[in-house]
Symmetry: C2
Subunit: 190 residues, 2 copies
DNA sequence: TCCGTACTAGATTGATCGCTCTAGCGAGTA
DNA sequence: TACTCGCTAGAGCGATCAATCTAGTACGGA
């Protein structure tokens, strides 16, 4: 444990950004949730909300990146891995009443044209996920080039399915996107 | 023409929501851009920003829904239609310096858990797009059930590709998503 | 013991938020 | 001419925003 004040501020930011986005989250709300003094936020992050936001994105990204090997290594083969990845995402979204999906998607759309530091943080996270995913496909005997393409296609399908799933309050898009990507991987292997 | 004050307010809202999202857009900014008197906003939309937001979403959705038959009917076959849809989206995103992609995706993620009326408006728009897309696939001889699934998969791929394309400032995700979906449609037809 | 640094603590700032309110304009009707 | 009604016009409301500022506390090294 030994969660420092700084850690709690970052963690609390990451949670709030994930659930309600960047613009809807106030700095007061962040420190209250973190049970941290207000002054500490600007002590640790002189760049203010934007600097904190960029760090929260990178932290979230690193944590979620661990899910990729965790799910795929536990699965008997990559196709099962893909199915379980989407199924797990669907289960989690339902558990949280369609509130908690991708930790950075909302923020990514919000800041892509308004904050270059935060946009770059999002880009780095997506790139790291793509790398991690491509590693799994490459292990399954797919060429590096094709593995990267498949991962990007899967990430697109996943992120888009999150948008639709939350708006429609139905896991149907996640299920269909998962099956579609499983078929695409099957095609690439066979 | 004969664009009424009310029309200009809705149109200006739709543009601003598309470019910078819901929370980042102020009502003052909306009426200024619309060259409309501030009081008119609350005359036409007593429910305030939320009621206006819901209408702007529906209006945007109806306009963009027209793109689906427009692109597919102009293409020689559905697979070419899919390719041109993604290629056209990529061209438009680049033209607007990665600012203008889906008119409602940012808002959808922002409001899904905070405004039920706006979430419902987003859900209706997505449903209308799915219907319109499924019609095209059904015309190409695909079963109604499969046509709907293909459209949802395509919409997921498109929305997710928008998220990645804007964050990475690269059209690679849109290109890959387009090719992946073209292959999926090929599979469904062949 | 003393000093300097790291951090805590929150009051306060000016700007901006969504929204309400009153006042008045202009066209149509009586 | 009087009156209504749809709409214009914007001043101003309380609340909240991100951020700054001053004080104070805790603690390690000299």
């Amino acid at each position: 444990m030994a969660a420092t004040t700084r850690d709690r501020i970052v963690e609390s930011s990451a949670e709030l950004f994930r659930l309600q986005g960047y613009n809807a989250t106030g700095v007061k709300q962040i420190v209250t949730r973190a049970e941290a003094p207000f002054g500490s936020l600007y002590h640790f992050f002189p760049g203010g909300k934007e600097e904190l936001g960029a760090e929260a994105i990178r932290t979230s990204g690193a944590i979620y990146a661990q899910l990729i090997p965790a799910v795929f290594d536990a699965a008997p083969d990559v196709i099962t891995g893909v199915r379980e990845f989407f199924a797990g995402a669907a289960a989690h979204v339902v558990e949280t009443d369609y509130a908690d999906a991708c930790p950075i998607a909302t923020v990514a759309l919000e800041v892509s044209s308004s904050s270059e530091p935060m946009r770059e943080a999002c880009a780095e996270v997506f790139e790291s996920w793509i790398e991690a995913g491509a590693d799994r496909y490459a292990e399954a005997g797919i060429s590096r080039q094709r593995a990267r393409e498949l991962t990007i296609a899967m990430l697109c399908a996943l992120e888009g399915a999150f948008v639709l799933t939350r708006a429609l309050r139905s896991t149907e898009p996640l299920q269909i996107a998962g099956e579609t990507m499983a078929a695409a991987v099957q095609e690439a292997i066979g």
